[in-house]
Every structure is written in C-alpha cells, then in structure tokens.
Symmetry: C2
DNA sequence: TCCAGATACTCAAAAACATGACTAGTCTTG
DNA sequence: CAAGACTAGTCATGTTTTTGAGTATCTGGA
C-alpha cells in the first residue's frame, strides 16, 4: 500500500517522468523505498486514473517524448491522510544476515568475502550520500539548515540512509574480522 | 527465494514446530527476516516435500500435538549452496520515512507523534536484544565469546539487530527534535 | 466460573514485488 | 564506424508477502 505514497512523496520534489522517477528511486528515494522501473510506470498509471497525479506530454527533439507527472490536490490530500495513519514497524530483511546466522555450520570463506564486498559497497554509498547532503543543504551549515532550510524532508531521510549505511559498513567489517580471527584460531588447533 | 533459507538457518538452532518457529521469527530471527506464521507453515510443508527438513510427530497431553522439524543433510547442502551464491543488496523500506520525506508539504503533528512512538518501540527492543545477547553468550565476556563462543551466528546477527535499533531510535529522536524546533520557529513568525 | 490468552494449525484470496523480454532512436567513446 | 550505453517506455508472467477468517483444546487470573 505504500509504494503509491513513496511515488507521491518523490513527486513533491518536482515533476518527473516515469524514467526520471526511476532514477530518483535509484538515489535519494532509495533511502526509504525501493522499486523497479516497471512498478513505477504501473503505479503512475494507476495514480493518474485515480486523479492523484496528472501527466502532461513533453515533446522532445532528438530523444523520445516523455510524460511529466505532477501531484494534484487529491494526491496531496491522500498523502496527508496516509501521514496521519499509523505506520507499520520497519524490519531488516537481508540475505547476507541469513548466511551469517548459519555460519556455525557452513564454510565461512564465501561469507567473509561477501561481507567485505558489502562493506565496500556501503562505503561507496556513504560517499555518495555525503555529497547528496551537501548538495541538498547548499551553502548553509548543517545546524542552520536543520533549523530553517528547505526542503527538509529529503534531507532528513537522507541522513537516515547515511546512518544506515555507516552502521551496515561497520557491522560488516567487524563481523568479517571476527570470522577471520576464528578461522585462524581453528587452523591453529 | 530466501524465506526458505531463513527457515533452514533458524532450524539449525534446534528442532522447532511451526508454532515455535513463528515465535523465533518474532524475536531472534526478526533481526534478519520477517514472516507471518502462515508463511512458515507453508514453507515448512514445501521444504519437507523437497526433503530439506524432516518432521516428526510429538504427542502431547493437555495440549495439541505438534510436529517438530529438523534440517536434513540435503537442507544443509542447500544452505551451503545459498551461502556461496551472491547476495542481493539490502534496503530500508519504511512507511514512516515516506512521511518524513513529504513533511514539507504536510501537517507535522502526526509525524512527530509517530517518530516518538517509534523511538519508544526501538528503545524497548534494544532492552530485549541486550538481554538476548547476554543469554546467548552465557557467562563469557563479549570479546572472549566473539573469539571462541558458540554458536556465533545468532550472536552476530543479534548485534546487527541491536545496532539497527539503536540507530533507528537515535534518528527518530533527532528528527522529532528538528521538526519540533521548526514548528516553534514557524509559530514565532 | 467465565473470559482472555496460549497452543497448534489450516485454507483461501488479494496485494505487492520481481523478472525477463521487447521497441526504437540517439549519443558517446574507443 | 561500430559497440555499448542512455532515453523513454510497454507487456506478460511468476513469485512472495500480506491479510483475514476459522478450528479446537487447555491454562491462568479476576
């Protein structure tokens, strides 16, 4: 039920085509929701049918035409309703954690490799999000921006994404270190 | 495709019935996967049909009989295969973050309330996980347990869950504080 | 003694999410 | 100048996850 709201929330940041929206979902929006492009096209079509967004054709030369979508008052009202309704709790759901859970009975080599890869991926994302934060707040310093800057929503969700990635990286590193040390100890006996 | 592996990994910790497994999924396993009881019963039936687990009837007086499941060698081999395959990246997907994203154009009151509620829920879970960690490591101190304790898998995933909840709580608190301060500033103007 | 809650499951349906294949022109880079 | 990536989508199918309702017995507390 919430993909639609994620789309509406993303469209508050400007008018986007399905294609552009997909790119947003690859970066900023990825901090709170994840979806394939096909899903977005489908959802936009539904939202338009329900009057939550309106699309307008933009004719382009030298590349395919596109349809830009804008949130309507109906859509904004729906978001307002959604914001006041209770949220469901959020969980982690992660392949790699399943593997770590089972690590006592499994070969640890591949798991350690994947932990390293994940840590590196998280590190890259941290860099990216750091830059995104700077871009979002312009030339204000953070404290000042938090007090008065706009838009504040995307900034706050981005901070959450950043903290998540940092935590993720740290856990991957320390877990890989623990498993490595145990490998060494086992080899010694 | 990974629920089955989460079930297998959970069953490594001992033999469980569907009902007991559901309780595991409410606590320790919740740190890396989430599923409804109905899903678990269905998955266990499939896994049994495929020979990944075996069930045995346990007759009980004064309460319904149950079927305990154990992972077979086939199941363990499947876990091994899974552990060596590449993992998909993990994302956050959270209703509340969607609301925060849109907060510039919405009434902030309900969002702040929900942030407070979430922070409190996270705090409660932190307590719980703290206790679970102590129980898992017995009387060893943490450093020693990480080096030699067993089983280490559940301990490591539990640490991840704990770090996640702490980060979540902190973000909820600081975000609520930011939004409150901005409300005050807006009222003053 | 009644009622809520725990134990132990089952069945069915709907919603959400993921995957793969396809079209078709343009722009960039080696 | 060819290969590959980018723009801008569509269509179909399959899997996973969620939601709701139901059954039946037993225990513990007001």
């Amino acid at each position: 039920m919430a993909l639609r709201h994620a789309v509406l929330a993303a469209l508050l940041g400007g008018d986007f085509s399905g294609y552009e929206l997909a790119k947003e979902f690859g970066l900023g929006v990825a901090n709170f929701w994840h979806a394939q492009p096909q899903q977005l096209y489908a959802e936009l079509a539904k939202l338009e049918a329900e009057g939550m967004v309106v699309g307008r054709q933009v004719v382009q030369e030298s590349r395919p035409n596109k349809r830009l979508f804008r949130v309507t008052d109906t859509g904004l009202a729906e978001l307002e309703r959604f914001a006041a309704a209770p949220s469901k709790p959020s969980f982690i759901r992660d392949d790699l954690l399943v593997k770590v859970q089972a690590v006592d009975r499994l070969g640890t080599g591949p798991v350690i490799e994947q932990l390293d890869a994940r840590a590196a991926a998280a590190e890259a994302k941290i860099e990216l999000l750091g830059k995104l934060l700077v871009r979002l707040r312009g030339d204000a310093d953070e404290e000042e921006f938090l007090r008065r800057g706009r838009p504040i929503g995307p900034y706050l969700t981005c901070r959450r994404g950043l903290a998540f990635e940092e935590e993720h990286r740290d856990w991957c590193r320390s877990t890989a270190a623990v498993l490595r040390e145990r490998q060494v100890l086992r080899a010694e006996r």
